[in-house]
């Protein structure tokens, strides 16, 4: 894209009544985009997926810009938030969770952002009901380039799910999410990706976890197309904890590459990464689990487990645990495995009369479904399981 054409397109992407500071941020990202590199996903080559490029202009939809806020929280498209709740929005947008315009895809997404939600739950709010954000209703053009900003105020408790409609239009998805947990807040976050096979997907999710805050994050990576995903939680406040559970399934000829990171930046923080993947057909699945403990973050715990179950001879997979530790007084550990179905387990199940097919299904569902079972909200759990099931059977 030439710079002149790019600038024209940039102007076409602006939201109605977009504040100057936001447009300036786009401009800056656009300039940075020319000089930054693509992010690295070890052992995944995504150069020819067309990410970080604009598609031929699709039909522009009429934006349904509706403010869904209630007495308990603010929930609206970012296009509204930057005008109606400008000060609050500006305080958090690319200020806490995602702060650096460090690679080309972040810059591209920031320059051309056309969708996304702002959710703000004020301090000491305990939400009994989960909030589910479905992306599509805010998508402006056919290719989603979205930026979600979720903020939990101090002492807040909430369950939030973020998913998509598989039939969503467009060929490329760029989806950035910032999640900020202020001190003492507790978030159950469930993110499910379920994009159809004709889409190349880039997701980047960044969480900021404040003092004594707790993030329980379950991820379902069930898209049918090519995906690169960056999932990152930073334990910024003392005694904060984060658990990232990622269930991924690949099938057909797709590739999914995921960088899942946890960084212990403060003392007495606990970070756990658990990833499980099922690899079918001729697909490829790569887990890069990255645990980092910075100097001074004493008394911290960093654990990770990356497991892949290979169900086809033509499939390929990698589970790469990386621990970067710059402090002595820590507990850190990792486990990784790439394996096939356990013959002893199959024999045991079959010895009770289950056919080989049913026994295999049970073992696979048990392996990958374990995180789903830990989701406490029944409705979200069942939706998660349904998507998982869809992917396993038709994927």
């Amino acid at each position: 894209m030439s710079e002149a054409i790019g600038k024209t397109k940039l102007h076409a992407a602006l939201f109605p009544n977009e504040p100057t500071w936001f447009t300036d941020m786009r401009q800056r990202a656009f300039e940075e985009m020319q000089i930054t590199n693509d992010p690295r996903f070890a052992k995944v080559d995504y150069r020819n997926w067309g990410l970080g490029e604009l598609s031929a202009e699709g039909p522009t939809k009429d934006l349904a810009l509706v403010d869904h806020s209630t007495d308990d929280y603010i929930l609206c498209p970012i296009a509204i938030a930057m005008v109606k709740y400008e000060k609050l929005f500006q305080t958090y947008y690319m200020k806490k969770a995602l702060t650096e315009l460090s690679d080309r895809l972040i810059n591209f997404s920031t320059a051309f952002v056309n969708a996304g939600n702002f959710l703000y739950v004020p301090e000491n709010t305990k939400l009994a009901k989960p909030i589910c954000l479905n992306q599509i209703e805010y998508s402006q053009t056919s290719d989603e380039i979205s930026h979600n900003l979720i903020v939990l105020g101090e002492g807040t408790q909430a369950t939030i799910c973020l998913d998509n409609q598989p039939e969503q239009a467009g060929e490329k998805i760029h989806r950035i999410s910032e999640i900020v947990l202020e001190a003492g807040s507790h978030l159950n976050l469930i993110t499910v990706d379920n994009f159809s096979s004709n889409k190349a997907v880039y997701v980047n999710r960044q969480a900021y976890v404040g003092e004594q805050a707790k993030l329980d994050w379950t991820i379902g990576s069930f898209s049918d197309g090519n995906v690169v995903a960056e999932m990152n939680a930073e334990l910024v406040g003392r005694r904060s904890t984060a658990t990232i559970n990622n269930a991924a399934i690949t099938s057909g000829t797709q590739t999914q590459g995921m960088n899942t990171r946890l960084t212990n930046l403060a003392p007495y923080t606990t970070g756990k990464i658990r990833q499980r993947g099922v690899v079918l057909d001729q697909s490829r699945l790569v887990f890069n689990g990255i645990g980092k403990i910075v100097h001074g973050a004493h008394g911290t715990i960093a654990e990770q487990e990356n497991r892949l179950l290979m169900l086809s001879d033509q499939a390929s997979g990698d589970a790469n645990p990386i621990l970067l530790i710059d402090e002595n007084d820590v507990e850190a550990g990792h486990a990784a495995s790439v394996g096939r179905l356990d013959k002893k387990q199959l024999y045991y199940l079959m010895s009770r009369g289950l056919s080989k097919e049913v026994a295999k299904q049970l073992v696979v569902r048990g392996f990958i479904g374990i995180f789903a079972k830990e989701i406490t909200n029944r409705r979200i759990r069942e939706a998660f399981q349904k998507t998982l099931e869809r992917k396993l059977t038709n994927g």
Partner: protein, 265 residues
Amino acid sequence: METLEIKDLHVSVKDDDTQVEKEILTGVNLVMHTGEVHAIMGPNGTGKSTLSETIMGNPHYHVTQGDILLNDRSLLTEPVDARARAGLFLAMQYPAEIKGITNMEFLRAALNARRPDDQPIPIKDFLAQLDQALEILNMTSDMAERYLNEGFSGGERKRNEILQLLMIKPTFAILDELDSGLDIDALQVVSKGVNHVIGPDFGTLMITHYKRILKYIHPDQVHVMMGGRIVKTGDATLADRLEDEGYSGLRDELGIDVDLVDSEV
């Protein structure tokens, strides 16, 4: 009345390390009918577990001669799941742990495997059966929600095997060292479970080292295995004799040339 017949069974196993085939069973003959309780006793390493795994159809064991017949139909070409649906059950010494599958899911799948695809067991009926079985075994209902054998103690595993026996109601059950690793209380409870299914339509084969369990589950016939075959068959008093004289006494009396790995000092 149904019949399970083992005819001149020879079985060999390939050693995982050396890849050498070794013959373990050297011609086992045994006839069981429903309504009967059989016990097989014998020293360590004599092939008792090989026999039970082979009857069930564990692909690790290779039948080189002889046959296994259920009501005169050979099971040799049948895979393990078909044998299970035909009425065989093996309570295993070391059941597999499977994380992610609850006991309940597994039991339902096992019962449904015996029913037409379009007629799964109604959940109400299933739960009623499960409650009854749990009660017999003094098990709490949270067992049903736990992952299959995962983190179970030795006693819990054995109970769980018998829970499956009660739910599945096979025609013939082989209980492989059900008594090992159980304290007296647990032994009484699992025995109660087994006695609950014993009746005219059920036959059982208990594999054991010790007489202890036979106090709670009374055998009609006791077989002694040595050197990969059955060397003597008698009634319950045979077990008493073994307890007094040890396996070496019987070996010497019968003039059998085998090493008794553990029992000889």
